[in-house]
């Protein structure tokens, strides 16, 4: 059993990181804030996958690497595996976690895009949720990139508390 810290340490650190970038540094530039948050996740994912694959043979193909993310990697981070994996066999993978831990504490519903989004408190809330999701997206992208797979990762939360991560491998 490896070393552990309380879950609230990680939760509070992430909350504080997101709020620093969104509210203090880049209050009016959400896309810059998002990029920084994703970059932090990327760094973490890259280092974690380096550590977790140290004693493994290389993965034979993309699917094997993705399966590693769904099983071993996800279990290390969340004590559970990804619940559902889909692929179109052309480089797109959808990893669904039915109860994504980092969202279970957020009480926001995603709002469908509305034209006058900026003043609506609900859309502010959903914007905050999506800011939080840049971090795990970055983690997945960093982990795969360490395994030699360049990709783009986005998150879909239309079925809360389930969260789907869409991985598009770059060819």
């Amino acid at each position: 059993m490896g070393r552990e810290v309380s879950e609230s340490c990680v939760d509070s650190l992430l909350t504080e990181m997101v709020s620093s970038y969104c509210n203090s540094f880049y209050a009016n530039k959400p896309d810059l804030a998002a990029r920084r948050i994703e970059a932090i996740g990327y760094q973490v994912g890259h280092q974690l996958s380096e550590r977790y694959t140290m004693d493994r043979p290389r993965f034979g193909d993309h699917l094997e690497a993705i399966k590693f993310i769904c099983k071993d990697f996800w279990s290390e981070l969340f004590k559970k595996q990804i619940d559902n994996l889909k692929t179109n066999h052309r480089g797109t993978f959808v990893l669904q976690d039915n109860r994504f831990r980092w969202l279970t504490r957020m009480s926001v519903e995603p709002t469908p895009e509305s034209p006058d989004a900026s003043d609506d408190p609900e859309s502010k809330a959903s914007q905050a949720t999506s800011m939080h999701l840049y971090f795990p997206c970055g983690i997945i992208r960093g982990a795969l990139s360490n395994l030699g797979i360049p990709c783009a990762v986005s998150a879909d939360i239309s079925n809360l508390p389930a969260c789907s991560f869409v991985v598009r491998i770059k060819v």
């Binding site: 490896g2 070393r3 552990e4 810290v5 309380s6 879950e7 609230s8 340490c9 990680v10 509070s12 650190l13 992430l14 504080e16 990181m17 709020s19 620093s20 540094f25 920084r36 970059a39 932090i40 996740g41 760094q43 973490v44 280092q47 974690l48 550590r51 290390e76 981070l77 004590k79």
Partner: protein
């Protein structure tokens, strides 16, 4: 036992996330001094929220004085959140200033500071957390680093100085 009562997660995730945040802050804020300030501020914000969880879950009874408070932070607080315990030493004669010494600190696992980071208090978030948490229980403190393992010292030592104890204000007033 206290650590067994909270939800726990992989410490590597925490350690590496903290490291990545510090690194990104160094890039974005450029000045080491600004990063120190930002980490302290983030810690403060965390501390003022964490105290609630601490009081709710730790079952500690009211501390009679600052001495007891410091012991509780070191023995119960650090244990509950970081899974390590710290010790309290170097009390001044008035009992208002002491050191919290942390020999084992998950924040600095796998960390080595390059020369370009001189002046960085890497763990400055911790001092912020303590300051924020104590402020919520009516104690204004000043928290400074005396020893830092990342700067070659043999332990992490935080000096906690009680500046003033704000008397508790009761929320009720006599009706007019």
């Amino acid at each position: 036992a206290i650590f067994a009562s909270v939800e726990r997660v992989n410490a590597e995730l925490f350690t590496l996330t903290y490291g990545a945040i510090v690194r990104q802050l160094l890039t974005d804020l450029e000045e080491v001094e600004e990063v120190n300030k930002q980490l302290d501020q983030m810690g403060y914000n965390i501390g003022i929220r964490m105290i609630d969880e601490f009081l709710a879950k730790s079952n500690v009874s009211r501390c009679v004085d600052f001495k007891e408070t410091a012991e509780v932070i070191a023995k119960v607080g650090f244990k509950m959140f970081l899974g390590v315990s710290a010790s309290v030493t170097n009390w001044d004669s008035e009992g208002t200033c002491c050191s919290i010494v942390l020999e084992d600190n998950p924040l600095v696992d796998f960390v080595e500071l390059p020369d370009t980071c001189q002046g960085l208090y890497y763990c400055n978030i911790l001092s912020g957390v303590i300051r924020g948490a104590l402020e919520m229980v009516s104690m204004k403190t000043e928290v400074t680093w005396l020893r830092d393992m990342l700067r070659g010292d043999d332990a992490n030592e935080l000096q906690v100085k009680l500046i003033k104890q704000v008397p508790e204000e009761y929320p009720y007033k006599d009706d007019e």
